[in-house]
């Protein structure tokens, strides 16, 4: 069981993710270079946080065309678990694996703080073990996390139970307090908060552990 962590030029949470998975949860990891065209047989894929390609043009817009992401898209279509965190969530929307877009925070500030989230796990693979309406505390660190989509898409997401994480107190203007979205099948999750920064009590909390542990199940 190995988790692949995709590394783009400008990723900066890739090492944190490997530390959390290996050091805190005992899961094997492998870094996957964005320019490669082979996932190397990994069992789950993480698109980590950071500033892929310097966030040029739009966050995630250039990363979407990385050769490895064709493989990630195929992997996701076949039901493989794919987790996108922060910039990884932005990339998932640009790829079309999740609908909508993440835009500049409403107040323009880069928000870096602990955030309370409400879970509605639905059929999301990564949220197994969390109860409905459970409250989690995970840190956020982003300038462009304001989720937007058209009203029809939003209704479909709500009806399909795909809005699996909502901010208890909206920090960025996200439509419907969206903090994390799942695809309909439940094998793709994008979220702005950073579970890899909440896996060791020394960092202030361990609410991210179960979510990341599910990469290995």
């Amino acid at each position: 069981m190995t988790v692949g962590i995709v590394v783009f030029p400008g990723s900066n949470c890739d090492r944190d993710m490997a530390w959390a998975l290996e050091g805190c949860l005992g899961l094997a990891t492998r870094f996957l270079w964005h320019g490669d065209s082979d996932l190397g047989g990994v069992d789950a894929v993480v698109l980590p946080g950071g500033f892929s390609y310097g966030d040029y043009l739009r966050c995630g817009a250039l990363a979407r065309f990385a050769p490895l992401l064709n493989e990630v898209a195929q992997f996701a279509k076949k039901g493989g678990p794919v987790l996108g965190i922060c910039n990884g969530f932005q990339i998932l929307t640009e790829m079309g694996l999740l609908p909508g877009a993440l835009t500049r925070n409403r107040e323009l500030h880069f928000r870096c703080e602990p955030c309370e989230l409400r879970v509605q796990p639905g059929n999301c693979h990564f949220l197994k073990g969390y109860g409905p309406e459970q409250l989690l505390q995970l840190p956020i660190a982003h300038g462009e996390g304001c989720y937007q989509c058209d009203p029809d898409t939003f209704s479909a997401l709500e009806q399909g139970g795909q809005i699996v994480l909502r901010y208890a107190k909206n920090p960025n203007g996200s439509l419907g307090d969206v903090a994390g979205l799942s695809n309909a099948k439940g094998n793709v999750l994008g979220l702005m908060p950073h579970p890899e920064r909440a896996c060791d009590p020394l960092l202030g909390g361990i609410d991210g552990r179960q979510l990341l542990q599910n990469l290995g199940s």
Binding site: L57, R58, A61, F65, T93, E94, P99, G100, A101, T103, R104, N105, R106, E107, L108, C146, Q148, C149, D150, G173
Partner: protein, 113 residues
Amino acid sequence: MGLINTMHSNGADGSPGCEDLNNCLGRLPRFIARVQVQLRPSVLDPAGEATRAAASRLGVTGLQKLRIGKAVEMELEAGSASDAREQLSLLCDRLLANPVTENWSLELEELTP
């Protein structure tokens, strides 16, 4: 560069003169394209609002609206203006703009050789 036009004689041997210099030289026409990417009217533009607030502090008053977009200038070769438009539309739809939040417009101009 793939050539779609073959070389034509230039009239010195008695054949008709070349009306299209690009064709005569075996080159594809060159175009200059200017794409404007703008946030959709329904999308909040906090950077535009902040800039409007700064404008009033500068003493420029009366600005009712300020929306920030992107301008992209390109030069390209294409077999025709409609080929160029087709390529650029793909580029705008798939890369330069995010259709969820942005609209785009295109100006295309053929460069004279």
